[in-house]
């Protein structure tokens, strides 16, 4: 119980703190009261300014939720991929999602779309499609008959990823005026505001992450290797397939709106493992909560450190995440945690 209470409180704290910060500061207590006032059955006399409420609901809350959902998606699918590939270096981008999404996004950016609603959504849609096409391609290349070898999947993912990244770079150099925008997107930036991205992301996330949590026990069994898992009665190929589909959909949806944010998907599951052990029945839900909290906290830093300007989130995750992770690794080097 304690790990859940701890990560939920951290998440709640990060969320409330995050929606308070910005050009107009809203104190945490006030933010909580404004939020509560929107709940049914709760009567609160508004003693806050109306603008605070508008800023909170129309700008800050949807953005914070988008950040949190992105973190949850990356944490959860990072844990699932590490389990599936039995590789501590695995992250949600291992088999081509990031490079595919990047290519899709940059292609969309190099075409001038009208600024209609659909036009605004072309980049996320193109990124989403690019990510899923790449993963499907990688999976089919690695597949022999009914089974896909883990090593072949990783290698195919790396090769296809490099190819897509090369194309992306080429396109970016060709269309210099879009370069800055493209780099900003690739490093993780929440270009779209409002509730629409949250609503678009939510169904993928709920379904994808629920499937991953349900498959936690099979992921445990998979840690013994394909042969042993199959001898114990696990339908290994089916599990692999479902995990790849669920984790890819989740990640692709998150990447589509938030760009490519590194490190969260790699580090969060390791952090949880170091603290609470390797059991995926715990590791998966905690990585989801932990990923959300971590990305929110990082986002706070990204927004405040050179305010009023913002650093790309992908830069900050690595700047803070890497040293913190190294520190934890040093402390845990005696322990078997993987």
């Amino acid at each position: 119980m304690r790990p859940y209470v701890l990560s939920l409180s951290l998440l709640a704290f990060a969320l409330i703190f995050s929606i308070g910060l910005g050009a107009v500061y809203i104190a945490p207590l006030e933010a909580v009261r404004i939020l509560l006032s929107r709940l049914p059955l709760i009567q609160l006399t508004p003693d806050w300014q109306e603008t605070s409420e508008i800023i909170l609901f129309n700008i800050r809350l949807p953005r914070a939720l988008l950040v949190a959902l992105t973190g949850a998606a990356l944490g959860g699918s990072g844990a699932a991929y590490q389990g599936l590939f039995r590789n501590p270096l695995a992250d949600p981008y291992l088999i081509g999602i990031a490079s595919g999404a990047g290519l899709g996004a940059v292609i969309a950016m190099s075409v001038e779309f009208p600024t209609t609603l659909l036009g605004l959504f072309t980049v996320p849609i193109a990124a989403f499609v690019g990510a899923l096409l790449t993963v499907t391609f990688v999976y089919n290349i690695a597949r022999v008959g009914k089974s896909a070898q883990v090593t072949t999947l990783i290698l195919a993912g790396v090769a296809v990823g490099s190819f897509a990244t090369a194309l992306t770079t080429f396109l970016m150099l060709r269309s210099q005026e879009q370069l800055r925008r493209a780099i900003g997107w690739l490093l993780g930036g929440f270009a779209l505001g409002g509730w629409l991205p949250v609503a678009a992301l939510l169904p993928y996330l709920i379904i994808g992450l629920a499937v991953l949590i349900l498959l936690a026990r099979p992921l445990n069994v998979l840690q013994f290797g394909d042969d042993q898992a199959e001898q114990m009665g696990l339908n290994v190929e089916r599990v692999k397939m479902i995990v790849i589909v669920a984790a890819s959909l989740t990640t692709a949806a998150a990447v589509a709106f938030s760009g490519i944010i590194g490190f969260v998907g790699l580090v969060t599951p390791h952090l949880i493992r170091l603290m609470w052990g390797p059991d995926y029945r715990r590791l998966l839900p905690l990585s989801i909560l932990g990923g959300a909290a971590m990305l929110l906290l990082t986002d706070i830093v990204a927004r405040t450190i050179i305010a009023p300007e913002e650093l790309p989130l992908g830069v900050v995750t690595a700047l803070i995440g890497a040293p913190f992770f190294l520190y934890l690794l040093r402390r845990a080097k005696q322990e078997m945690y993987w």
């Binding site: 069994v221 013994f224 001898q231 390797p278």
Partner: protein
């Protein structure tokens, strides 16, 4: 009952196994012996359905293993493979409980009954006191017993073991082989066990199958198979066999 019907396996032009016929009855310990690299481990993989032979089939009670799902196979056949990799950070009890996978499906949760089965298996393999330890902290012999406990937790009537005593000292070797023989003779398990040590095979097995050059050289009671004639031919050096001074089983002297 496990039957291997005229099993052959070829990789390109290399013949790994040629026309192997074996029958494993209920309540029987069948030891598979032979020099290195004759295909003993390969035969185990075929016998559990993990590898499809080029010709022939492995069948349990007349049903070909290739036609069964992994769940159905695992409920019939449990495997203790050689030199297994175990994730280090899982505890012993969690690892043993994984043996219930075939009964839980993809979404199932372990029940109290599953836990009782796992604990009973841990008791039989003398690892109850290790339950909460991480597998990575255990010695090779202790890990071997964890794997055997996991296989018992699988509650399959057929047990395939590939050198299960390889890492064990004399006492634990005897413990495990006594346990294996007890499972067969008292609880009607069928055990196919690869043993390197011919004297252990002579002492513990009801039947011995001698594999040589990708084919079966002889099958039968230990004293019929483990003869100087067979062994000298198969191992390519002069071998003597005397009667064990205490229990009369063949004692192989190389």
């Amino acid at each position: 009952m496990l039957t291997l019907n005229s099993i052959s396996l070829r990789y390109d032009t290399r013949t790994i196994l040629r026309d192997v016929n074996l029958k494993l009855d209920r309540g029987e310990v069948l030891a598979l012996v032979g020099p290195n690299g004759v295909g003993k481990s390969t035969l185990i993989k075929i016998a559990c359905g993990g590898l499809k032979p080029t010709h022939g089939e492995a069948a349990v009670d007349g049903v070909s293993l290739q036609r069964l799902s992994p769940e159905e196979r695992a409920r019939r056949v449990a495997v203790v493979s050689q030199a297994l990799h175990l994730p280090e950070a899982f505890t012993v009890v969690d690892t043993v409980l994984m043996g219930r996978t075939a009964y839980l499906g993809l979404l199932g949760k372990e029940t109290e009954a599953d836990k009782r089965i796992a604990h009973a298996a841990m008791e039989r393999t003398c690892i109850t006191e290790l339950a909460g330890r991480k597998v990575g902290e255990l010695s090779g012999g202790e890990q071997q017993r964890v794997i055997i406990a996991r296989a018992l937790t699988q509650a399959a009537p057929i047990l395939l073991m590939d050198e299960p005593t390889a890492h064990l000292d004399l006492k634990h070797q005897a413990n495990i082989l006594d346990l294996v023989r007890g499972l067969a003779h008292e609880e009607n398990f069928s055990v196919l066990i690869v043993l390197h040590d011919l004297n252990l095979a002579a002492q513990y097995a009801d039947q011995v199958a001698l594999l040589s050059n990708a084919a079966l050289r002889a099958v039968g009671a230990p004293e019929e198979v483990l003869t100087p004639h067979h062994l000298s031919e198969v191992y390519g050096l002069s071998i003597n066999v005397v009667a064990h001074p205490i229990n009369g089983t063949p004692l192989v002297l190389a």
